[in-house]
């Protein structure tokens, strides 16, 4: 079966551009470019307050909650579904964990407040509840064939108000101190810990690159020239260590440090300084990103998710149990909502009735800005996280510049629509569907 395009393959290879040789994802580069443009613009408009270690630190913590859920939303949208209930599910999971910490574990189980098991039991039960609710949604969608839009629209109302019932509408707090460490500024790795993390990450990334090359060579496939591999490895190293360096440059204010020493009954040495370093919540997001990317690219589950999104009939004819797959995808989404609930409520130090309100829109927007196609079958984890970061920097940048609140939302809405339009034009140009 001959084809004209294969005849032209040879000359195409000679005309490869630098980007093609490096095998970089041009859409990803475009998004990074957009992010840089937005950041620089705000940096200029705020007289240099936007790209400071302090603001970058804050941006990363503010992004975590939405970004974690956006990675799950990628799978949901790739399988041609939608989840409108993520904000409400987050609220229910948060309410469950708050009640576990303040009522169930200390009083009902009689362990008392401040028991070391309090945060862990709460988190475990919260994650379980999130996964169970998600699986229930998936069962309604997959087995009872109710459209996901309807199931999760119902879920949006149900779970928001289940959370209300669980807490009688009260704000529950303060949450357990250990639990609060997952929120951001209250739990960071410190300078040394952050550098260790950075070096481990660099080593892992370089090892993964080398492994991929080995695998290709073992089967005699064409590999990138060595200089291209080194360039990519160098870029990755600079990016990771640069990120750590920036976060480490944000120092804990002297007054706060002094209070910390006082609390331990010590006196702060003269000229003592300490950095916050990488927040635990960001570490959590990185772990989620790595695991979700592995699932997407290197497991059967991920392959089936994308195959089902590309052609549900073909997937079913290939023997894939697409109904059970739907349950798994929604259960994973629910689990990630609960994980986001840990971060979101820990950041606020308490559970409030309106936690996660409108998060469904932010999460869907992040996934879509990140290149996830609503028609299914296309989307990346790193794209969704970058999408969440772009949304968050737009929002906090406008707040710093002093843009009126209604105008902020108008801009975010317009950006969402524009991002999808640009994506459509891009795909048409590159010949993707």
């Amino acid at each position: 079966m001959t084809d004209a395009s294969s005849v032209h393959a040879a000359p195409e290879q000679q005309r490869r551009t630098l980007l093609q040789t490096l095998e970089l994802d041009t859409r990803l580069l475009g998004m990074i470019g957009a992010f840089l443009v937005i950041s620089l613009a705000f940096h200029l408009m705020t007289d240099g307050r936007f790209l400071t270690p302090r603001n970058i630190f804050n941006l990363t913590i503010q992004t975590v909650s939405v970004a974690i859920m956006a990675t799950g939303m990628v799978f949901v949208i790739v399988t041609r579904h939608i989840d409108l209930s993520v904000g409400s599910l987050l609220a229910t999971a948060s309410a469950v964990m708050a009640m576990m910490q303040t009522q169930v574990v200390p009083n009902w189980l009689g362990l008392g407040l401040g028991h070391p098991l309090v945060p862990w039991l709460s988190i475990a039960v919260g994650l379980l509840a999130g996964a169970a609710i998600g699986a229930f949604h998936g069962w309604l969608v997959g087995y009872l064939t109710i459209p996901a839009f309807i199931v999760t629209l119902g879920g949006l109302l149900v779970w928001r108000n289940v959370a209300w019932y669980l807490t009688n509408g009260q704000t529950i707090g303060p949450l357990d101190p250990t639990f609060q460490k997952f929120g951001g500024i209250n739990g960071t790795l410190g300078a040394t810990g952050s550098w260790v993390l950075g070096l481990v990450a660099v080593a892992t990334a370089l090892w993964a690159l080398w492994q991929a090359r080995q695998r290709k060579q073992a089967h005699g496939f064409p590999v990138k020239p060595v200089w291209a591999e080194i360039t990519i490895g160098g870029l990755v190293t600079v990016a990771i260590l640069g990120f750590v360096a920036i976060l480490n440059a944000y120092e804990i204010p002297a007054r706060k440090l002094a209070r910390m020493f006082e609390a331990r009954g010590e006196v702060m040495p003269e000229g003592f300084a300490a950095a916050y370093g990488v927040p635990i919540s960001v570490l959590l997001l990185l772990a989620v990103a790595v695991v979700m990317t592995l699932i997407a690219r290197r497991t059967r589950l991920g392959r089936y998710i994308f195959a089902t999104g590309g052609n549900p009939d073909a997937a079913a004819l290939s023997g894939i149990n697409t109904r059970l797959l739907t349950v798994k995808v929604f259960a994973l989404m629910g689990f990630l909502c609960a994980l986001s609930a840990v971060v979101a409520s820990a950041r606020l130090a308490n559970h409030s009735n309106d936690i996660g309100t409108l998060d469904e829109l932010r999460v869907i927007a992040a996934a879509v800005i990140g290149g996830t196609a609503l028609s299914g079958g296309l989307g990346t984890i790193h794209g969704a996280i970058l999408g969440a970061l772009i949304m968050q920097s737009l929002q906090s940048g406008m707040a710093m510049v002093g843009v009126d609140a209604p105008l902020q939302n108008i801009v975010v809405g317009v950006v969402l629509v524009l991002a999808v339009l640009i994506d459509i034009i891009y795909r048409r140009r590159t010949g993707e569907n």
Binding site: M1, T2, D3, A4, S5, S6, A9, R215, K216, A218, H219, G220, F221, L294, R297, R298, T299, R300, R303, F306, A307, T308, G309, G310, N311, D313, A314, A315, A316, L317, S318, G319, I320, G377, L378, G431, E432, N433
Partner: protein
């Protein structure tokens, strides 16, 4: 005569009161090509989907090697080494050739992760045999030509050592040279002792490639004949009039 590879006995299936397949019996022997003929909506594809596991029959029996077989989903069919090339090809357009070829039967590393490199290597091997011009292994199949997509679908059926092959209009989207290649492939598979059900509208193809032909009309079996005993006109009248010429007895 020897035991048939496949016997589909008295198969019926209805959709909302309409009998798509109505008490049809067909069989297939090793190394034989049996054509399934009939107008659109005659029930050929529906009948064959009962064998491939895509549909479940309401009544009837399927025997593989003379033993009753239970086929309730595509995975069951694969266990009996039944492979199907669907009219729609059933490819996930967003995945590359290797991912489609191994869909549902991925090769994994000892740790349980997908072994994409090995799958691509295997895909290159089989494509070298089926379609030496095929070069685009890392692009989504959406960007391939009709013929290339067809060869991915055929490779998927051939790779896993099919004993029973179902081809639903395999040449409908192909040009002359490509149709030629499919015909040669069918002859080769026949020599290997594989039994093939071939659904096709083109009488010439059926006359050339098939040993026997079963004709269906309105969900019922008109008759099964030996192709070498009939003329094209005989076959056409069976399809159009729904009657077997009196001179011919049942070919089975």
């Amino acid at each position: 005569m020897a035991t048939p590879l496949v016997e589909m006995r008295d198969i019926s299936i209805a959709f909302g009161g309409i009998k798509a397949v109505d008490h049809v019996t067909v069989d297939l022997y090793p190394g034989e090509v049996v054509g399934l003929l009939g107008h659109n909506g005659a029930g050929k594809s529906t009948l064959i989907k009962c064998l491939s596991g895509a549909y479940q029959m309401d009544s009837g029996q399927i025997l593989i090697d003379g033993r009753p077989a239970t086929i309730t989903n595509p995975r069951d069919a694969r266990k009996y080494n039944i492979e199907t090339i669907y009219q729609t090809l059933a490819l996930a357009d967003n995945l590359d050739a290797a991912s489609n070829l191994f869909l549902g039967r991925e090769l994994t590393t000892p740790l349980g992760f997908l072994d994409d490199a090995r799958m691509e290597a295997e895909t290159r091997k089989i494509m070298k045999r089926l379609n030496p011009n095929f070069q685009r292994f890392s692009t989504p199949v959406a960007s391939l030509s009709g013929g290339q997509r067809q060869s991915v679908a055929i490779a998927r059926a051939v790779y896993f050592n099919a004993r029973i092959l179902i081809m639903d209009e395999p040449t409908a989207a192909l040009g002359v040279a490509e149709t030629r290649m499919v015909a040669e492939l069918i002859q080769e598979l026949k020599r290997q002792g594989i039994g093939i059900f071939l659904i096709d509208h083109d009488i010439h193809t059926v006359m050339e490639l098939c040993d026997r032909a079963s004709v269906m009309k309105n969900g019922k079996l008109v008759g099964t004949i030996r192709v070498r005993d009939v003329t094209e006109d005989d076959l056409l009248s069976m399809i159009i009039l729904g009657k077997t010429p009196e001179a011919l007895t049942d070919g089975a």
